[in-house]
């Protein structure tokens, strides 16, 4: 069982994942589907990512001293700054700042936001279990995995907003259909590269079922399975019904997206546990 700092690290990492993935995903979805009124959504989640990134860095300082004084200890924080943890923080601060700046510069500024988002996501390559492997293919796999997941997360809230007003049912149906087409490529990529990384990190079926890390990964995959079920229902039932003019489909789609959000929170939470608290099988 983790101590108080271990629990705080998990919660902070969850907030970091939520902040970065949602803000970057919303920028990607806004560019791809030309959503309106997403600035506050992007800024809110990017702000959450910034705060969580600084808190996560500071908490690592506490981990080094074993007490709360480490969170502000210049020697500990200076020491951390010289390691890949410092590089990751720098990328997150620069990336998320660019992302926020871009949303104030009109439509073209979204490309600056996208660049910033890519920098912020690139920070996850610097530290963690994949970084320890030092393999280019795994880095590319993680980047693709995160970008595909971010797009999925980013499309949900604007799509639910469109599905919540009768005036925008047609737009919701159109976006839902176009996202379904995009997802038919990105979701298999998400799953294939996820499986590839899982295979490299866990290594064997025995380790998958016999270690905490493997069991955590199984729980995450079960959650993702639930997400795929909901996504299939959206693509095969609710979106076609909405396109055919069935108003009840909008309500079903909206509810389905709310449940998707809950499962995504569970997936991000499980990922935070996997990356903070569990040792890789050896």
């Amino acid at each position: 069982m983790p101590d108080a700092f271990g629990l705080a690290a998990i919660v902070t990492k969850f907030a970091l994942y939520l902040g970065i993935m949602t803000s970057v995903g919303t920028v990607m979805a806004t560019l791809m589907f030309r959503f309106d009124r997403t600035r506050s959504l992007v800024m809110g989640f990017a702000g959450l990512g910034l705060i969580a990134a600084m808190l996560a860095f500071s908490l690592r300082g506490a981990n080094l001293t074993g007490d709360i004084s480490g969170m502000m200890d210049p020697e500990m924080l200076g020491l951390l700054w010289t390691t890949p943890v410092g590089t990751a923080l720098l990328l997150r601060l620069v990336g998320l700042s660019l992302l926020i700046l871009g949303v104030f510069l009109g439509r073209a500024g979204l490309w600056i936001s996208l660049l910033g988002g890519a920098v912020a996501i690139w920070s996850f390559i610097q530290i963690g279990h994949i970084a320890g492997r030092d393999r280019t293919l795994l880095d590319i796999a993680l980047m693709l995995h995160l970008l595909a997941a971010a797009l999925w997360i980013g499309v949900l809230t604007p799509l639910r907003r469109l599905a919540s007003s009768i005036d925008t049912y047609a737009s919701a149906a159109d976006v839902g259909h176009r996202f379904g087409v995009v997802a038919s490529v990105t979701v298999p990529v998400l799953i294939i590269v996820g499986g590839y990384m899982g295979y490299h990190l866990v290594g064997s079926f025995l380790a998958l079922i016999g270690t905490g890390y493997g069991q955590g990964l199984i729980i995450k995959v079960v959650f993702v399975g639930g997400l795929l079920g909901l996504a299939a229902a959206n693509k095969l039932r609710f979106i076609p019904a909405l396109r055919a003019g069935d108003p009840a489909a909008a309500s079903h789609l909206s509810k389905s997206i709310s449940i998707e959000w809950l499962i995504i929170l569970a997936v991000l939470g499980m990922t935070a546990v996997l990356t903070s608290n569990l040792k890789l099988p050896t």
């Binding site: 981990n63 001293t65 020491l79 390691t83 320890g132 905490g212 069991q215 608290n277």
Partner: protein
């Protein structure tokens, strides 16, 4: 569903470790019983680490932080002077930073008869 999730998470934590523990060996060895108090403890790690905190607890009562003033670089081996606090169990708790930025920690103990 909630109970199932909770059971799963508790099960995972039960088999989890808080941080990586890369200690190769110590002198005195973990759980060793020795007749004479050593003048120093040796900690040998699998890779380079910068020690950030080492504390020693004697017989569950007296605890003190060791002075790491001279340990200001990443290294694999550390030799720390020990203070004789008499017979009993000595528990050494250490914390450090791996060169890859991972926080590391661990504990070992030995008994002086």
């Amino acid at each position: 569903m909630k109970t199932l999730l909770l059971a799963g998470v508790i099960g995972i934590w039960a088999t989890a470790v808080m941080a990586h523990s890369p200690l190769e060996k110590t002198i005195p060895a973990n759980e060793a019983t020795i007749t004479q108090m050593p003048t120093e403890v040796l900690m040998d790690f699998k890779g380079d680490i910068r020690l950030t905190k080492v504390s020693i607890t004697h017989a569950d009562t007296h605890s003190m932080d060791m002075d790491l003033g001279e340990q200001t670089s990443f290294a694999q081996e550390f030799s720390l002077p020990m203070q004789d606090m008499g017979a009993g169990v000595y528990v050494v708790e250490w914390r450090g930073l791996g060169a890859d930025g991972h926080a590391l920690n661990g504990t070992f103990s030995f008994t002086v008869e």
